[in-house]
Symmetry: C2
Subunit: 153 residues, 2 copies
Amino acid sequence: MNKIELTNVSSIPSYTISNAARLLHISVHTLRMYEREGLLIPFKKESNQRLYSDKDLERIRCIRKVLNEDKIGIEGIRKLLSLIPCWGIVKCPAKERKVCKAYTGYSKPCWMLKHKNNVCESKNCRDCDVYSSFGNCESIKDKLKELIVGSSK
Amino acid sequence: MNKIELTNVSSIPSYTISNAARLLHISVHTLRMYEREGLLIPFKKESNQRLYSDKDLERIRCIRKVLNEDKIGIEGIRKLLSLIPCWGIVKCPAKERKVCKAYTGYSKPCWMLKHKNNVCESKNCRDCDVYSSFGNCESIKDKLKELIVGSSK
DNA sequence: AATTGTTGATACTGGTCAATGTCAACTATT
DNA sequence: AATAGTTGACATTGACCAGTATCAACAATT
């Protein structure tokens, strides 16, 4: 099911930053700003050049919808993202959780932190399920629904 | 444990709106605005007069911190509040969830909706644990930590 | 060689919105 | 009767910020 979604919207990073900006009708600068603010993790070549996939573009459209239509600022989005229960998604051990700022903190999404000595260390955040929880606009709550079953009656 | 917290900060509604405004150094108008925007549910007498408790004041201080320091707007707070997994807190049956806008929607906290034919119908939102999940500023994530245990290793 | 990319800094603009003020008509408290 | 509360509407203000623009120095792509 996740596999299907992944193939429906291509995750292959193929657009340069200027091409991506043209497709989205925004400036190159704005794309870099989103990245600096922690909302976006584009693919990077060895040369450090950014490349964007269709999935990235979808995420950016979502960011812009929230910013422009819902009138929620970048700081607000970051707060929303920091509510994503990464510990439940990547199944990090309770021992690691205790000292992890993604678990104990409240202001930054996990992928903005330097993760050392835990299950995330070897992971690439761009490809992580936690980061993708914001792939489309309602997905954070959908992820909560998945994780919190509550009464099964 | 919850009992202790409840008695530490009084939930007894004792301040009139003008007294509450004076204590918080804001205007009466602002208090009514927060209420209209769905961030606050003051106690109401039969005569419709609002009364605020110390717990209410604490919540309002939290709202103002998020608004003024974190620079998240009212709409953003509402989005945060609508992420509270009420279905896991009040243990509403799966059958009810399916047709409940608090579960299916993404933009309004449950207490802003008219709830009919479900477990919430008889409840007073002001006293509900869901509404209290925003009693202090970090409590939404803390509630998620409670509900999502993840790996128990 | 020319284009397109990278970094970081700095400054400006236009629009949005939290908050306040004020008006009017009414009701409850004291 | 006077005070303090309620509702709704409408206008204003001041601050913030998303987005753009433009520097400069440099590296990679084509």
